[in-house]
């Protein structure tokens, strides 16, 4: 795993108001993320200086919700690595979840009805 030999990430203020996000050595994400989890860049994140891979992930999420799966594909990184990067960014407040806080039951007839209605517009 590419992040395996790094020192733990910290957020610490450097000269001036911009916090500096250093990258992580963890191999497990601390946030409950799956392939379909959606995240987006936060306003606060725009003021942070991010380490290169975090920066890339952040930039890919500037324009609205992006899924973990898409991010992994665009970054050409294993899903597990992307989950760790996102955990760092979520913990630092640079990114925020971009989906309902309530876990959606995909077998909920009401939500399936909404999908059917949406598909008619395709």
């Amino acid at each position: 795993m590419r992040t395996g030999d790094r020192t733990p990430w910290v957020v610490e203020p450097v000269s001036g108001p911009r916090p500096y996000v250093v990258t992580g050595g963890r191999t497990h994400s601390t946030h409950d993320l799956d392939l379909a989890s959606l995240v987006k860049a936060s306003q606060a994140g725009r003021g942070m200086e991010l380490e290169s891979e975090h920066e890339l992930a952040f930039r890919l999420c500037l324009h609205g919700p992006v899924s973990v799966a898409e991010l992994a594909a665009r970054m050409r990184l294993p899903v597990q690595v992307v989950k760790v990067l996102l955990s760092d960014l979520l913990s630092a407040g640079a990114m925020v979840p971009a989906m309902p806080t309530v876990t959606v039951n995909p077998a909920d007839p009401e939500i399936l009805e909404r999908v059917l209605v949406a598909l008619r517009t395709l």
């Binding site: 379909a36 799966a69 989906m99 309902p100 007839p109 999908v115 395709l122």
Partner: protein
């Protein structure tokens, strides 16, 4: 307020799995209906020694690359995004399917009638997992066309599993398959909805 009501630009993500054997048209179908060029995620897997030779008691390992297609359809007005995952159909990738099938609306099992048997692992997996799925027979030019009934019998499907024919290259056809899958998932979700009574007392 419904828990599904989108706040800000939040969207409800819903997964749909497109499974099937090699060359059956998974990437083609994801591309036909996705709003972005299909992306591929490559995972390099190390497969433990099962079935491989041992050397001096040391397990041999083999690596393999699994390519998964990714596409999406966003419906901002409905607060939804459909995430489409095309995934290879071999048994050895079952562990990956668990992740994919978890929380998925359902699965499309793409079938090429020249290699019907390639669909067996996916059918078995989704049946066992009780994931709503349907069979979409991708018709390649010049291939013998089996009737849906023949496909149903050959695959040993349950009576309520839909069998459709499609053209994976066609957006309209892919949309019809998606609609059929979601409709099927909905019927399974409300299996005993009473029929309106024919003659009121």
């Amino acid at each position: 307020m419904s828990p599904y009501a989108p706040s800000d630009d939040a969207l409800t993500p819903l997964k749909i799995v497109i499974a099937g054997g090699f060359g059956v048209g998974k990437t083609t179908m994801v591309g036909a209906v996705s709003e972005i060029e299909p992306l591929s995620t490559e995972e390099t897997l190390t497969i433990a020694s099962a079935g491989l030779d041992r050397l001096d008691g040391i397990d041999c390992k083999a690596t393999t690359t699994v390519t998964m297609d990714f596409g999406r359809i966003t419906f901002p007005a409905h607060g939804l995004v459909l995430l489409l995952f095309g995934t290879p159909g071999q048994e050895r990738f079952w562990f990956m399917w668990d992740d994919l099938a978890h929380g998925a609306v359902g699965a499309i099992v793409l079938v090429d009638t020249r290699r019907l048997q390639d669909a067996f692992p996916a059918v078995e997996f989704f049946e066992r997992r009780a994931t709503p799925f349907l069979i979409a027979v991708n018709h390649f030019d010049g291939t013998h066309r089996y009737t849906p009934l023949e496909v149903r019998e050959a695959l040993g499907l349950r009576a309520d599993t839909p069998v459709l024919t499609c053209d994976a290259r066609s957006r309209e056809s892919a949309r019809a398959v998606l609609t059929a899958l979601v409709g099927h998932a909905q019927r399974l979700a409300v299996p005993h909805r009473p029929l309106p009574s024919a003659s009121p007392a």
